[in-house]
Structure formats: C-alpha cells, structure tokens
Amino acid sequence: MNVIVLSAVWGVVMMFSGLFIADKSKAKYVAITGLLVLLVSNYFDLHHKFLFAYSIGNMLQFDSFGMIFVTIALLSTLLYVLLSGSAVEKVGNHAYEYFALLFFVLCGVGIAASYNNLLMLFLGIEIISIPLYILTGADKRNLKSNEASLKYFLMGSFSTGIMLLGIVLLYGATGTFSLTISSVSKASENIMISAGVILMAIALAFKVSAAPFHFWTPDVYDGAPTVFTSFMATVVKAAGFIAFVRLFENAFGGMTDVWQYTIALIIAATLVAGNITAVFQQSVKRMLAYSSISQAGFMLFAVYSINAFAKEGILLYAAAYCLATIGIFAVLIKMKDFTFEGFNGLAKQQPLLALLVSIFVLSLAGIPLTGGFLSKYYMVLSSIKAGGLLWLVITAMLCAAVSVYYYFRLIQAMYFKEGDANAVDVNPRFKALLVVAAVLIILLGVYPNALLLDWFHIL
C-alpha cells in the first residue's frame, strides 16, 4: 500500500528536481533511485510490514495476486529505465516530466492491481491513462505523435464513458460500488446488471486493446515515441489485464453465464485480427503493435477462465511478456531503420544482440524452454479446466502457428539475410542487462516455480 503513495510522491519529486537540476541527463538517475525506493517499500508491503499505515476503508485490498503483479511491474519498469532511460531524454526537452508521468502511471498500476471498489478501478484506470495521453504526444513537433495522442485521448475518453455507464448501471441495480455484486441473488436475470457487466467488459477490452476495440492500438503505438510505446505495450497493458481479471473474478465470478461466451468471442476475434494483420506489416514497430494485440488475445484466456491456473498464468504471462517486449523495444530503439530489412544481417555485426533478440522473439512465439511457452500453456490449460470450448483452443493454436510466421521473419532477417544492419551506441552494460532479461525468460520457462509461482502460495 505504501507503493501507491510513494510512487505519486516520487512523481512530484521528479517534477521538482527538474527545476533544480539543469542537466537533463541526470533525470534517469533520479528515476532509478525512485524505483529502488519503490522496490524496497514493495518488499515490506509483500511481508505486510508498512513504513506508514493509513486507513483505506476497504476501498483497496492487498492480496498476493495484486502485490506480486506490482512487483513484476516495478521490476519491469526498472529494467525499462535502465535499458532505455537515455532514449527517454532524447524525446524532448522535458525529461524530468516524462519520468514523473511514468511514476504517476505506476501509481495507477498500484491502484488497478489492488482495488476493491468500482470507483477505485475507475480511478486506477484513469490515473494510468491520462499520463499516457501526454506521453504519446511527447514528440511535439512530430505530426504522427500529435495525431496518435489526440486519437488515443478521444477514444480513451469514450471508453471511459462506457466504463462509467457500466458502473452506474451496476450501482443502480445493487446500491453499492464494492465488488460484492455477485452476491445479489439472481444476478443474471437482472437486465441492469447484465448490461453493466457487458459495458465493463467492453471498456476494459478497449483498454487492453482486444478486438473489435483494438483499432486505436496500431496507430497509437506507431505514432508514439518508440520508447513510450515500449512502456505502454508492456507494463500498462499487463496492468489492464490484472484489473480485468480482478473485476471479473471478484465481482462477476458468480455469473459466468452472462459474460463468458462474449469473452470467448472477443478472444477469438482478437487472436485472428491481431495475428492475421501482423503478418502483413513491414515495420517491426507496427508488427510489435499487432503482436501485442494477439498476445492480448492469449492473456484474455485468464479472464475467460478465472481459476487458480488463470491467476498464476496471467502473472507468468505478464512477467514473460514484459521482459521479452521491453527487450525487443530496447534493441529497436537503437536501430536506424524500423523495417524488417533494417535488421538484415544484424547477427554478423552484433552476434550477442541478435541471439538475445532471438530468445525474446522465441518467447513471444511460445517456443518451449521460454517463459512465453509456459505462460501460453497456463492460459490454455486454465480455459480447458474452466470447461473450455474446443473451437476456441484450436483457434488459439492455429493463431500461435501464424504468429511464428511474423516473429521468425525477424530471426530470418538477422541471421539468414545479407545486410549490414547495426545498432548504434550499444555498451556492455546494455548487453549485460539484456542478458539478464533473457536468462530470466529462460528460467521462467524451465523452472517457473522458484522464480515466481511459489511466491503466489507463500504470500
């Protein structure tokens, strides 16, 4: 619980340090210090020892599911800042403000991972979204960045409206904002509740870019400065899923008949739309945008099945997906050309970098021995356990096979095609960090218990 407060406080500290420190290249060190402070306080949070306590009036609930996710989000953000912190400074003149906004996003992530009340869900999602609207448009002189920002803002506000309408309907039917709606008898016969549930599903599907509410994603991800796309596609997206799973498990778990089939259709649409469109992309950045949509399709399985496997699985998925995607983006930022051709022959110039990107890509494609495989496995397993639909599982597998096509184009470009692609200013520290990420991905794929899943039972 301290993490939520401290991240907001550190956001303010970041802004003010911008006033006193003229050198903008110092910004990332302030941010790293802040993240370390957050990690320390998170460590105490995990063991239920708080630096300072305050009354939360049952609005938030700190269970192991949410807290482990916050840990993953903080570690991913730390990795992200360490890898791409200097790229943040290059976006514009307001380096300190950019980092401050990232801390505000983390505050929202903390709330979205531990809310126990529909209002807090709304607050969490909004605290995440508003800084992102600004960060998307951070490249002020770039028309594409402006367009993306406006588009994101308009579409985002629209979906927020839908979420509020859903909350209002649920409140009207039950008279409470807390997540105890499912205890209302015969919930599924109450049309207000059913409508509210579906509206909530639509609003959250928008936030996690699930089809058919995904159309903003490629444009926004493509238009935003690459370094912020990396953050949006990983930590933020995963937080959306945690909020999604929390809501549907705690509030709507008792009325699966109302929404489960709708979610199944959304999953199928997301997988097909994301994967098929990704095949035709020429730019790696846009391909990653569509790949994030298709990965969202897999993560939605956790919402579909809401059981123990789903919760463990989504945590594993979040960790594996964040590590791999942050890694690929970190390398992408260093490239001159964002098309697939831009990667031609990278293995010759940067053998280690090419190997690491290959590991990240293999993980995203879900090849065994990587965290990506095991997390997809957990997702599908959980849906089968929830009495899964065979057609849905088969669709998912076919889509996974399609995804190999576009992920492996990157490997082909790096290893088998002739070219002289090179990454600019890659230092040993950068490589070492990527090696750590790759090792973590493989450990997650080979022995996830020690690293992640056992914590779920211990805490």
């Binding site: 293999l362 021995l369 096509y405 492996f408 218990n449």
Partner: protein, 478 residues
C-alpha cells in the same frame, strides 16, 4: 543416471562448442563429444537395471509434470542409433567447411540432445519439450547453411511441424485434464483407459503431429524440399534419426494411450501409408536429383513402417523396431555417398554423372551394397525388417500387402537405375578426373556396410533388445 547423461553430454558440449572459434578444434570437439555419447549409449546396453536407466526429479508440481527419463528396449535401440549416427555424420562430412563452424557444430550437438530427450522422456509434457527442442536447432541449421532456396523451404518445414505440434499440445492438455490423476507420467497414463469419444478426438490430434514428422502421405510435402536444401549433415540427422521420432512417438504414446481409436482408424492410416508408398516410389523413379530420389525413397520406407505399426500384431511391430534402426543406418549410408559424389563433382544431377565406378571402385562397391540394402535384398539388414513387416501386414489384410509389395519392385527400379546412371556407363567431362575415397570415408562406409551385413545375418540381438517393448505394446493394443 545414464539416461540423464545421454542428454547432458550433447547439451553441455553443444553449448561449449559455440565458444570454440577455431574450425579444426571445434570439429574434433564435436567428434569426441559424439563418441563419448556413443560410449554411454553402448554402456546403457550393458547396464539395464533401474539405477542406470531411470531418472526422475520434481519439475513442475503445479502442472503435474516431473522431469522423468527412462530407458526401455526401444529407447535403448533408438538412443544407440542416435549415438552411432552423429559420429558417423561428423566423420563423413569432415571435409566440408562451414562458415561459423562453431555455431554449426554447436547446433548439431544441441539437436542430438533434443533427440535423445524425445527417446528418453517418460513424461508427456517433458516429451513435448524435447520434441520442440529437437526442431529449433535443425531449423537454424537448414536456414543458415542450406542451399539456395533454404529460407522459404525451411520456413515451410518449421511452420508445418510446429502447427502439428501445437495441435498435439492441445491433445496433451486434454489428456491431462481428462485423466483423474492429473498426471503426465507414462505409467499412470498407461493405466488409465480413455473414453470412446475422447480417444477418437485425441487420436487425431496426436496423429497429425506424428504424421507430419514421419512424414506420411499427404503430410509429406515439406520433406523432399527440406532434404534437398539442407546441408547434407543435417539431412542425415533429419532422415536418419529425426523421422524416427514420429514412429517412436506412435509406439510410445499414440498406440498405448488410444488403442481403441487406433484400432478403429487402422484402415485409414494403413490406406494412407500404402498410397504414400506407391506415390513416393513412382515420383522417385523420375527424379534426376540424387537427394530428391533418396528423399522420396525414404517416404516410401517410412510408409511401410507406419502401416506395419497399425497392423497391430507382434510380428509387424517387431519388424518396425528392427527396421527403425536399419533404415537409419542405410539412409545415412546413402547420404554419405551422395555427399561424397556432390563434393567431388559439384553436382547431384544423375544425368550429368556417369562412369564413376571406373575411377572410384571402392566408392562404387560401398554404394552398391548400401543400395541393395535399400532394396532390402536378403542378407542385408533391411530384408529382416521388411520381411517381418510384410508378414505383419499380410496377417492384417492381404490386399494391402500386395499393393505395398509393389513398392519393393519400384524401389529396385529406381535404385538400380540410379546406380547405373551414376556409377556405370562411360565417363564424361565431369567425372573424367574422379578420384577414389580416402581412408576416413572408407572407414565410415565400412562401418555402415558391416552393420548392414551384421544385422542382416544375425538380427537376434536387436530383436531381443526390443522384444519386451513389442510384447507390452501388443498386450495393450489387443
């Protein structure tokens, strides 16, 4: 413990090979590593007690999967084949030079680790891990060191087999979900009888993956292209050992888990196999490229093995066991000859070759013996296997046997035709300056020829080795 060593040795030496930059030393390193693996696999033949052949450790308790390995008769036979194949391949291709040779040999050894894992795993999920793990290095080997059209061809190969594997993965999930123990271990799955409906669906999910890997008609379209485009050393791995993964998986998992569905669908599978045999043999007859000829001939042979497996009687299955080993030896022998020919003359086109026997008698003699084994002439190893398999198929249905029998005649036609075109007749400008093979090539071919005769004349040890596997399979299958 030996089971674990069989995986660990190629795995560790493979990773280490990436760091040996000198081409000569990495070649030696790979050869020594593969010889050590061979010694361990021979050793495992001597020590058949539990301590040596079983290894188990907790792995993913939440998922009900454990890291368990075990060696049974069939596993010993196939790990022995894998153990023999790699040193033979390394010696036979020792003259070839590769760009980034450290990566090449590293990946070769890693693929050996994957193959060993497939043959050893006694846990279904672990089996799936190794199944995929064997594929990844081969994908890189083919796409990096292959022929001109390597990138699209190996991509097709990869997506094809990966799709099959994914469908199998869904099957594995359902197997886990349906069985009450929620376990992947072979023993508990063998004890559980799946319901009728579940069997009929799961059977096809697994069969698809195995059929693509073997490959069985009509899932074979990736195979001739991939064999043609891959570097020969990799083609040897693919055809000598890797296709056995499909057959092995049928024996280890498909038939024991879903015997009822296997019985119900035996006519479809055998029908497909027999059609594939004739089809592949006919295409082999009109090939001009040596590699494609051997590739199609391999489809025909695998088809017979698959048919004999599904005939479901002990004599046929015994034949398959023997033939899995023998086919591996023979086809590697054929590839060695193709490799030697191509390296010397720079072409694989039969129409451009001819008269090599005059200049290279030793090579010609070796080739004729291996080719005759490919036609399964008596006294050669393939005869034993094919005789048993045809016998088994005959007990199942006469007509299948008659049609399948045609493939023997067709095999004789294309094989003898190949010998004639390549080795006899007059020399031309390409082959005029042919030189005979040197001592290490002779050594490799001699080992293969000796194995061909030894297994052909005295197949008893091999039959005894796999007897127990056959018996247990037949008892489940009945």
């Amino acid at each position: 413990m030996l089971a674990l060593l069989l995986i660990l040795i190629p795995l560790i030496t493979g990773v280490a090979a990436f760091f040996i930059k000198n081409e000569k030393s990495v070649k030696t390193w790979a050869l020594v590593a593969s010889l050590v693996t061979l010694i361990v696999s021979l050793w495992s033949l001597m020590h058949q007690d539990n301590y040596h052949s079983v290894f188990s450790k907790e792995w993913l308790p939440d998922l009900g999967s454990s890291f368990s390995l075990g060696l049974d008769g069939m596993g010993r036979m196939l790990t022995l084949l894998t153990g023999i194949a790699f040193p033979v391949i390394f010696i036979a291709t020792s003259k070839s030079t590769y760009k980034d040779s450290n990566q090449f040999f590293g990946l070769m050894l890693l693929s050996q680790a994957g193959l060993m894992g497939v043959f050893l795993a006694t846990d279904l999920l672990l089996f799936y891990f190794f199944w995929e793990l064997a594929l990844i290095p081969v994908y890189f080997l083919c796409s990096k060191w292959g022929g001109e059209r390597r990138i699209p061809v190996t991509f097709k190969f990869f997506i094809y087999t990966f799709l099959g594997s994914l469908i199998m993965l869904v099957g594995i999930l359902y197997v886990y979900y349906i069985n009450p123990e929620k376990s992947f271990s072979m023993a508990s799955l063998y004890n559980y009888t799946f319901g009728h409906r579940a069997q009929s669906i799961l059977f096809w999910m697994f069969f698809l993956a195995f059929a693509i890997k073997m490959p069985i008609f009509p899932f074979h379209t990736w195979q001739p292209d991939t064999y043609e485009q891959s570097p020969t050393a990799t083609t040897m791995v693919l055809s000598g050992v890797m296709v056995k993964m499909g057959l092995f998986a049928v024996v280890r998992w498909l038939l024991p888990l879903f015997p009822e569905a296997a019985h119900g669908n035996d006519n479809i599978v055998i029908g497909l196999s027999v059609v594939g045999m004739i089809y592949a043999s006919c295409i082999a007859m009109v090939q001009d490229d040596l590699k494609r000829l051997v590739a199609y001939s391999s489809i025909a042979h695998i088809g017979l093995m698959c048919a004999a497996l599904f005939a479901g009687n002990s004599i046929g299955i015994q034949g398959v066991m023997v033939q899995m080993f023998n086919h591996g030896i023979n086809i590697i022998g054929l590839w060695v000859v193709v490799e030697l020919t191509e390296r010397q003359f720079g072409t694989r086109k039969m129409s451009e070759l001819g008269g090599i026997a005059q200049k290279a008698p030793a090579l010609a003699i070796m080739l004729v013996i291996i080719a005759l084994a490919n036609v399964s002439l008596p006294l050669t190893n393939a005869f034993v296997g094919e005789f048993l398999m045809f016998n088994g198929l005959y007990q199942f249905n006469v007509w299948y046997t008659v049609i399948a029998g045609l493939s023997i005649i067709l095999a004789a036609i294309y094989t003898l035709n190949m010998i004639q075109k390549v080795f006899y007749g007059n020399t031309n400008s390409v082959t005029a300056n042919a030189v005979d093979i040197n001592w290490n090539e002779k050594l490799v071919l001699a080992v293969i020829v000796v194995l061909i005769f030894a297994m052909g004349v005295y197949p008893k040890p091999m039959i005894e080795l796999t007897q127990a596997s056959v018996n247990s399979l037949v008892s489940i299958f009945k």
